[in-house]
């Protein structure tokens, strides 16, 4: 089944904040496999992530992100800080944040929810499980859920 992530007739843009190129590629693969019609924008650190969201500098012309897939452990400014800044910034607070981390740490999970992450997903090791996760994201966040415009 092919889902089209649309919002007001536009292709949905998802910002993937991920420093590992392997994971980026894997995510791209998974998104492709899941047949999601989204524009996946990628930044590899927290500073860039916030600049993108605020459409600053070279990100000024980029499409605004409707959703953020956020890794927690990042160079320069890590995912936790990005989350905290986003949720305390009125303009960015409404953008859903899906935390995607290899960490299964209870502390990380609590931290994420405490700072209004929309959900916390542990990256599975197994490819099939990973694909299933991406399918689940597609089914829920891009199909069931109505995202803010």
């Amino acid at each position: 089944m092919r889902a089209t992530g649309t919002s007001a007739g536009r292709t949905i843009t998802i910002l993937l904040v991920e420093d590992s190129p392997d994971d980026v590629d894997l995510m791209q693969e998974a998104v492709n496999e899941a047949g999601i019609d989204v524009e996946l924008q990628v930044v590899d650190d927290g500073v860039k992530a916030l600049k993108y969201l605020r459409r600053q500098g070279r990100f000024a012309d980029k499409p605004p992100a409707s959703m953020v897939l956020l890794d927690l452990n990042l160079p320069r400014k890590d995912g936790r800080e990005v989350l905290v800044e986003m949720k305390s910034d009125r303009k960015l607070a409404c953008i859903p944040v899906i935390v995607l981390s290899t960490s299964a740490s209870e502390d990380d999970v609590r931290f994420a929810y405490a700072h209004h992450a929309n959900c916390y997903i542990c990256k599975p090791l197994d490819l099939d499980e990973f694909l299933a996760v991406v399918d689940a994201i597609r089914d829920f966040w891009l199909t069931v859920v109505r995202l803010p415009g």
């Binding site: 290899t102 960490s103 502390d107 990256k123």
Partner: protein
């Protein structure tokens, strides 16, 4: 001259007549005195005068005749001789060689209380005790007219009574006959003096103090036995050595003594004097006093020395005892000071140790934080590439399945399985590292409800295996609830996992008192287990059990007794259990025998509940 009386004086005035008679022989000591004819001295002069007396009268045997003869004798004499005889100090009795009195003088009458005529014809031996016939015979035979024999004895008075007398006898040869002359001298006064002297001398002799006397020129003249004893000098030795002044140990003292005597005639002081043998110094208290006659003329010096050796020794001993006491007090004080210093040192050492401990605790905390950080980063950073390896292998298989041989696919599967196992290890490691660092505060936890929660979590495994878990009446303890849950979960899960047939798990608890007991922790050695007051829990199963020699090993991280194929797992469970129990101050061990199940014991000491956030 020592103050020793001549033996004759021993017949004292106080003696009865009987005693005197009984001792007559002691009196009868003749002392021949050789009169030197030098023409000087009274005695010589006397002799001359006696020589002049011409006693020529015939001696009558009958008293009447004798009286007649006496008159004749008197008449015969010239007036000078008569006057001389009458007036000499001694009583004069002239006898014939048989001892019959033929002539006396006035002094003899005064002394013996006879009228002159009453003497005549009497035996002189009746009047003078000691002048018996044998004496007369001896004198007659042995004594020439130029010699005197002196006897000391008692003279009998006419009316009775006697007096001590010194009687000098000599023989006079006249042209026609020989006569005896007895010169009687009353020595009562001299005897009294001698007795007095004897008394004084006896007192001095028996005195405990050393006494000596010197004459006016400082010559040593007397010393008592105590003196001899004390200074080790005989009288002669000290005289030879130069007298009392040689005894002074210090010249200065000697001078002070001499000055004192010169100025005041007396001196007293504590001095050191030298003993003869070895010149040992003797401490004495010396008192010296001048001896003066009635006119105040100094006749000599009497020195009394009290031996102070004993007293000095006693004083020394007292001082020693005192010093000893002081020394002991000092020592004790020092000891106290030392022990005080030791205590202070101990206190400071303890403080130091405490600070060390605090620093150690800080270091530990720091290193724990670092470890946690490390474990977190490691688990994350290790998992990223691992995920990539596993995922891309799987992607490879997925995309190119047709192009891959069966072997290739099998290899990929193996690699993926190994990667997954590695991920488990990484996660367990992380979890293990978090036991010590990410604990929750200790609060009251009801173990019954913990077990119930655990069993709910394990319900799939329990249903699958048909396991039966028996528990009940488990206590409430103070512990980290999450960790206690994990502990029991691991133990119960293990009991089910390593089953043999239908698993039966029994959980129980009992109180233990504070004690030390030997516990077999590894089969090889008996370890001493600290058991504080608290609870001893046991989780008993009827599973495969383990060999006791591996009992200690299973609590170490990643130590496994079985292959992954037999019993999957990383071998972290019991290591985490141990870490949890130790964090609670308890201990964990196992008793088991292969095929007879295993019983895991752990203790949880009574702890005070902590406030949240501690």
């Amino acid at each position: 001259m020592p103050l020793t009386a001549s033996p004759s004086v021993q017949r004292g005035k106080g003696m009865s007549q009987e005693e005197q008679k009984g001792r007559a022989e002691t009196v009868r000591i003749r002392i021949p005195l050789e009169f030197r004819k030098k023409g000087e001295g009274e005695e010589g002069g006397l002799e001359e005068k006696v020589e002049l007396a011409r006693l020529t009268a015939p001696i009558a045997r009958e008293p009447a005749r004798a009286a007649q003869q006496q008159k004749e004798v008197s008449a015969d004499r010239d007036p000078f001789c008569n006057q001389l005889l009458l007036n000499i100090y001694d009583g004069l009795i002239i006898t014939d060689l048989e001892g019959r009195i033929i002539e006396t003088n006035a002094r003899a009458s005064t002394l013996l209380r006879y009228r002159p005529e009453e003497f005549l014809g009497r035996q002189v031996t009746d009047l003078i005790d000691g002048a018996d016939e044998s004496l007369l015979k001896d004198i007659g035979q042995n004594i020439s007219h130029e010699k005197f024999t002196m006897i000391e004895g008692f003279c009998q008075r006419r009316e009775g009574g006697e007096f001590p007398a010194e009687v000098t006898v000599n023989m006079i040869r006249l042209p026609d006959r020989e006569l005896f002359c007895f010169f009687v001298r009353d020595i009562t006064k001299r005897m009294e003096l001698e007795i007095e002297l004897l008394r004084l001398s006896k007192a001095a002799e028996s005195a405990a103090d050393a006494i000596c006397i010197t004459d006016q020129e400082g010559h040593h003249v007397y010393q008592n036995p105590a003196f001899t004893e004390l200074f080790g000098y005989t009288f002669e030795q000290l005289v030879a050595d130069g007298g009392i002044v040689k005894l002074f140990a210090d010249e200065e003292v000697e001078r002070a003594f001499a000055d004192g005597i010169d100025a005041a005639g007396a001196w007293a002081g504590e001095v050191e004097m030298l003993r003869r043998n070895g010149r040992k110094r003797i401490p004495v208290y010396m008192r010296a006093n001048a001896i003066r006659d009635e006119e105040g003329e100094m006749l000599g010096l009497i020195c009394v020395h009290t031996d102070m050796t004993e007293r000095r020794r006693a004083e020394l001993e007292l001082r020693r005892a005192h010093d000893d006491l002081e020394k002991r007090v000092t020592e004790r004080t020092q000891e106290l000071q030392k022990s005080n210093e030791r205590l202070q040192k101990e206190v400071s050492e303890r403080k130091h140790a405490e600070e060390e401990l605090k620093r150690y605790a800080r270091d530990l905390e720091h290193s724990n934080r670092e470890l946690q950080q490390f474990a977190y980063v490691a688990s994350h950073d290790l998992q990223e590439p691992l995920r990539a390896v596993v995922s891309y292998l799987q992607l490879l298989e997925r995309r190119h399945k047709e192009a891959l041989s069966e072997d290739a696919i099998r290899f990929i599967d193996r690699s993926v399985a190994a990667g997954k196992r590695m991920q488990n290890l990484i996660r367990d490691l992380l979890e293990y590292s978090r036991v010590g660092t990410n604990g929750a505060p200790f609060v009251e936890v009801n173990i019954n409800s913990v077990v119930e929660t655990v069993l709910e979590g394990l319900h799939l495994a329990i249903e699958e295996t048909g396991a039966e878990v028996i528990f009940g009446d488990l206590p409430t303890v103070v512990a980290d609830p999450g960790q206690i849950e994990q502990l029991l979960q691991n133990l119960i899960a293990n009991a089910i996992k390593f089953r043999r047939g239908d698993p039966l798990v029994t959980i129980s608890a009992r109180r233990v008192e504070k004690a030390r007991k030997k516990v077999d922790r590894g089969g090889k050695s008996m370890a001493e287990l600290r058991v504080h007051e608290g609870w001893l829990f046991s989780v008993e199963d009827n599973g495969i059990g383990i060999e006791q020699e591996f009992a200690g090993r299973i609590f170490r991280i990643f130590q496994r007794l079985h292959t992954v194929k037999e019993h999957p797992g990383t071998g972290i469970g019991l290591a985490i259990c141990r870490k949890i129990v130790e964090r609670h101050g308890g201990d964990i061990w196992v008793q088991s025998e292969p095929e007879y199940g295993a019983t895991f014991y752990f203790t949880l000491p009574d702890l005070p509940a902590q406030k949240q956030g501690d």
